[in-house]
């Protein structure tokens, strides 16, 4: 079985998921994983599919693109290397790094650079707004996966130093604290 990742971007409206999933169904593909989000009315969807052996990347791309012409959707398809047996990076812990303070240009660039320099993977990035005009209502949250070989003290110190430079409040907390408080 071949495996592909399909990304779908476009203005949100009813029927996008239905359209994509029905094309895949008719091609005999199995939807293994899917996720979607809506950012300021823009739809972004991610689908990982397994296809029958006779369906190549080219066939899949042509079929999907022909059936979504004139829909305004931008679609990318890539082959995915099946790494089910890979055990790399499975040991580690997830932390949430949260910065609170006035929005400013380059915020994500600066923090993600530090995180990348320490070879830490950002699993999820989220801008959280509490609403209103309070500059402290701007919250950026980075969910990172830290493997045992990472020098966490050095990483956390670098992040805290950067937050201080930018006059931001920063919190670095293991994800379990969010689970303990919110998931009962």
């Amino acid at each position: 079985m071949n495996k592909f990742i399909i990304t779908v971007l476009g203005k949100d409206r009813p029927g996008i998921i239905s359209l994509v999933s029905n094309i895949l169904y008719k091609l005999g593909c199995n939807l293994e994983n899917a996720n979607q989000m809506i950012l300021q009315e823009q739809f972004a969807g991610f689908f990982i599919v397994g296809s029958p052996p006779d369906i190549s990347l080219e066939t899949l791309s042509q079929t999907i693109k022909s059936k979504t012409e004139n829909t305004g959707l931008t679609i990318h398809i890539n082959a995915v290397e099946d790494n089910e047996n890979s055990e790399s990076n499975t040991r580690g812990e997830t932390f949430l790094i949260t910065t609170i303070g006035p929005d400013q240009k380059g915020l994500v660039a600066r923090f993600s650079k530090i995180i990348a320099l320490h070879k830490v993977n950002i699993e999820n990035l989220k801008a959280v707004f509490k609403g209103g005009k309070d500059p402290n209502a701007n919250i950026m949250s980075y969910q990172v996966f830290i493997t045992p070989d990472i020098d966490t003290a050095q990483l956390f110190n670098a992040l805290r130093q950067k937050a201080e430079e930018l006059d931001l409040d920063i919190r670095i907390q293991h994800k379990n604290i969010f689970d303990a408080i919110n998931k009962i």
Partner: protein, 461 residues
């Protein structure tokens, strides 16, 4: 990934609502340290306590750092010294207190509790030696906390012990007159003392528990207050009136969240120290900081101040909701798990007393429905031993009859009278001395001694 509300509510609880782990308390059993030789006994207890506690502070700090929740106090509770040191004289007991004080300093903890005696049914030789030693032991040390249990629901009230404790408190106050009787802030008199409480000054390690155990005290009055305010604001936004039922539900859910935080951190500390985890005690315990107050919860509930009519009902609801939330969150809830109302340790409660909203009599009635009792209450220094014993006996009776823990931590401040200010500093706070009506009476009642028998409902077998 967590949704926006989950991230925001967690951050708010820590950043703006003073959520913390108030105490991680390491319980250490000292029965295997017993010796008739004082030097050997001191050597044994030092070796055992430091062996278990040498990494306590750094482990708590590391776990607190990992979760972004501060472990404010790291403490130790030990087996009652009156039992493990029963063969020693009162002078030797004072020496033991010094040794404990030094051990506490060595392992960088702020308090060690368990300079204690259990005398609800009678005073044994070791108990008497410890009670005699208490004034000097507490006056000459900084980190040693003491408690004496004088009553239980099953045994009744030992009135000889009540009178002895009244005399002891007066002596301890006099020995620390230049510090407004500070020694008394480290001494609790209990009815139905729990054996796994992580909070000071009453913490000790009971005889029925493991060799070493980690108990956790979680607080969070600021979190509860904010949750109540949000509930009321939400209802106002929807133009509906919140009911007390819905507010109680909010408190319960909040208490549940706070307890889960405590258990998460406590279990990790216990695991890292390779010590058994004991209980979570979710007690709303204040600090003298604005936003970290039990008194402010009463105002959030719509009362002018703690102490006004309605306060006992509000406290009953609060205490019960906290217990229910805690019990749902953890199967191992212990200690007191309720709400404390320590006067000098809570800025808002101290102010309520100062303004005349809260009297000693109202405090006593409120202790019928909440944890502990007359806690950190400064009273006139010239109160008679008989009157002081009467106040203690009243509080013990509330605990005995209602099958609950009650305690007194009263501070008769030498040379000062009702209305004068006292300052204890730090977490112990400051307050104005409360008026004690008829405080110079010398009534015979408490001097008859003997035991007030256990109530009929103690016979449950």
């Amino acid at each position: 990934m967590f949704d926006d509300n989950e991230i925001i509510s967690t951050i708010e609880m820590v950043k703006n609502e003073n959520l913390d782990v108030r105490a991680v308390t390491l319980g250490v059993n000292l029965f295997d340290c017993i010796s008739h030789d004082l030097q050997v006994f001191k050597k044994n207890i030092r070796a055992k306590i430091t062996n278990h506690a040498q990494n306590l502070v750094e482990t708590c700090d590391a776990v607190g750092e990992k979760y972004g929740i501060k472990v404010v106090n790291k403490r130790i509770s030990i087996s009652p010294i009156a039992l493990v040191g029963a063969c020693f004289s009162s002078d030797q007991m004072v020496e033991i207190a010094h040794e404990l004080d030094d051990i506490a300093r060595q392992v960088h903890i702020d308090f060690i509790g368990g300079f204690s005696a259990l005398v609800e049914k009678g005073i044994a030789v070791g108990d008497q030696a410890l009670i005699d030693a208490l004034p000097r032991a507490l006056a000459q040390t900084q980190r040693v906390c003491a408690s004496v249990n004088v009553a239980t629901t099953r045994s009744g009230i030992n009135m000889d012990a009540v009178l002895a404790m009244a005399k002891t408190i007066k002596k301890a106050a006099l020995l620390t007159a230049d510090e407004d009787g500070l020694a008394c802030a480290k001494l609790c008199v209990f009815s139905n003392i729990p054996q796994d409480m992580p909070f000071m000054a009453g913490a000790y390690l009971g005889v029925g528990v493991a060799d070493a155990v980690i108990n956790v005290g979680v607080s969070g009055p600021g979190v509860v207050k904010k949750a109540i305010e949000r509930n009321i604001e939400r209802n106002q936004g929807e133009q509906t009136d919140p009911t007390l039922g819905s507010i109680a539900e909010t408190i319960k859910k909040t208490a549940c969240k706070v307890t889960r935080v405590g258990e998460l951190i406590g279990r990790e500390v216990a695991k890292n120290l390779e010590i058994k985890f004991g209980v979570v005690d979710l007690s709303l315990a204040p600090t003298p900081t604005v936003g970290d107050s039990i008194g402010e919860i009463f105002q959030a509930l719509g009362l002018t101040n703690i102490g006004v009519p309605g306060s006992t009902a509000a406290l009953a609801m609060l205490n019960d909701a906290v217990k229910k939330g805690g019990a749902f969150a953890s199967s191992h809830v212990g200690g007191l798990s309720g709400a404390f109302i320590p006067v000098s340790e809570d800025l808002n409660i101290a102010n309520a007393a100062d303004k005349g909203f809260l009297s000693l009599e109202k405090l006593e009635s409120m202790t019928c429905v909440c944890s502990v009792g007359l806690d950190m209450v400064p009273i006139p220094g010239d109160i008679t031993v008989e009157c002081l014993a009467g106040i203690i006996a009243d509080e013990m009776a509330i605990g005995m009859i209602n099958s609950k823990t009650t305690a007194t931590r009263l501070i008769p401040v030498p040379g000062k009278k009702a209305g004068d200010r006292v300052y204890f500093g730090g977490l112990l706070g400051e307050a104005r001395i409360m008026n004690v009506p008829n405080h110079t009476l010398c009534d015979q009642f408490v001097k008859y001694g003997g035991r007030i028998p256990a109530p009929i409902h103690s016979m449950k077998n």
